[in-house]
């Protein structure tokens, strides 16, 4: 797979730590909801650093959107979130991965469980669900630290519909004004919110490795078939 040239067309701040980059990518061959790309930055001395980022835009969108969380001691994300400006260019390879994807070609219910910036590929699935007019029931359970850390907060509200439910749970929100769920995603919350295993939903879990392990184990523990629980981990190199 060749490296392509991406040009920043727009930058959109999402939270204090995350930015969405809208990119024009030459020779982009289209993607599926849930796929990712590799980004490579090369310094003048030839040193190159490479990281993977999920695609936030749905298939068929005019531009490729990446939502990037800044890792302060990272090698790639500080530039993407702080320095990258309209017209800047960098190398990109993708789309990558046919495993963690949702194509929307059946009406099986879909449970999406995201932790932190793990919501990004799930957002592509929600957007694809909306754009394609899917009638599959889709439910996103999204865990963030505080309300201010919720990525796509307004976009998620706009996407909510009878077929698309969004549930937030906040692990460290101190404001008493927050009337929603608090605490981490665990078996109790999933049993309350998710479909029973008898419905045989497709489950997609994305987030930091410890989050994914806990949620995937909880889903299997509730009786969901392991083969229907697809996972994507990110973490230590997410810089």
């Amino acid at each position: 797979m060749r490296w392509l040239e991406a040009t920043v067309a727009e930058t959109v701040p999402e939270t204090a730590r995350t930015v969405t980059l809208r990119l024009d990518v030459g020779d982009w061959r289209g993607h599926r909801a849930g796929q990712h790309v590799d980004v490579r930055l090369t310094a003048e001395d030839g040193y190159a650093a490479q990281r993977s980022y999920s695609i936030a835009s749905p298939p068929g969108a005019d531009r490729v959107e990446l939502t990037v969380e800044r890792i302060d001691d990272g090698e790639v994300s500080p530039w993407l979130t702080t320095d990258a400006d309209v017209g800047d260019q960098f190398e990109l390879r993708g789309p990558i991965g046919g495993w963690f994807v949702w194509d929307g070609d059946d009406t099986t219910p879909v449970l999406l469980v995201g932790g932190g910036s793990g919501v990004v590929p799930l957002m592509a699935m929600l957007r694809h669900h909306a754009a394609s007019g899917s009638t599959a029931a889709m439910h996103l359970v999204y865990s963030a630290r505080t309300l201010g850390d919720v990525i796509y907060r307004q976009g998620l509200e706009a996407l909510a519909s009878p077929h698309r439910a969004v549930t937030l749970t906040l692990t460290r929100e101190s404001s008493p004004d927050w009337g929603g769920h608090r605490g981490r995603v665990d078996a109790d919350l999933l049993a309350d919110l998710g479909w029973p295993p008898s419905v045989r939903p497709h489950c997609y879990v994305c987030g930091p490795t410890p989050f994914v392990e806990v949620v995937a184990d909880a889903l299997v523990g509730l009786g969901h078939e392991p083969a229907r629980v697809r996972t994507e981990r990110f973490g230590p190199t997410g810089g």
Partner: protein
């Protein structure tokens, strides 16, 4: 330092430089424990000079990849069998 592993999804781009199929859709049978699982579910250790993929079941090393600008070294002795679904060529 956080040393928790990623999974096979995260290294699909790097392996895609060597393989003509989508590695996340392939399945391996572990040479150590004989467990068969999607490569997307293998544990990926990337904080090293190369990439190490370990079995999610027994932890045994299935694949090691080291790349330089001149060549790549690929050790797959931990994979007993590789299943590649038809139609997943990239």
């Amino acid at each position: 330092m956080d040393t928790s592993p990623l999974d096979g999804n995260g290294i699909a781009g790097a392996l895609g430089e060597l393989f003509a199929f989508d590695v996340t859709m392939a399945a391996t049978t572990c040479a150590h424990c004989r467990h068969t699982q999607p490569m997307a579910d293998l544990r990926a250790y990337v904080r090293a000079p190369g990439i190490v993929l370990r079995c999610a079941s027994c932890g045994g090393v299935q694949l090691r990849l080291v790349q330089s600008t001149e060549r790549a070294w690929l050790d797959v002795r931990g994979i007993q069998m590789l299943q590649v679904p038809a139609g997943t060529t990239v």
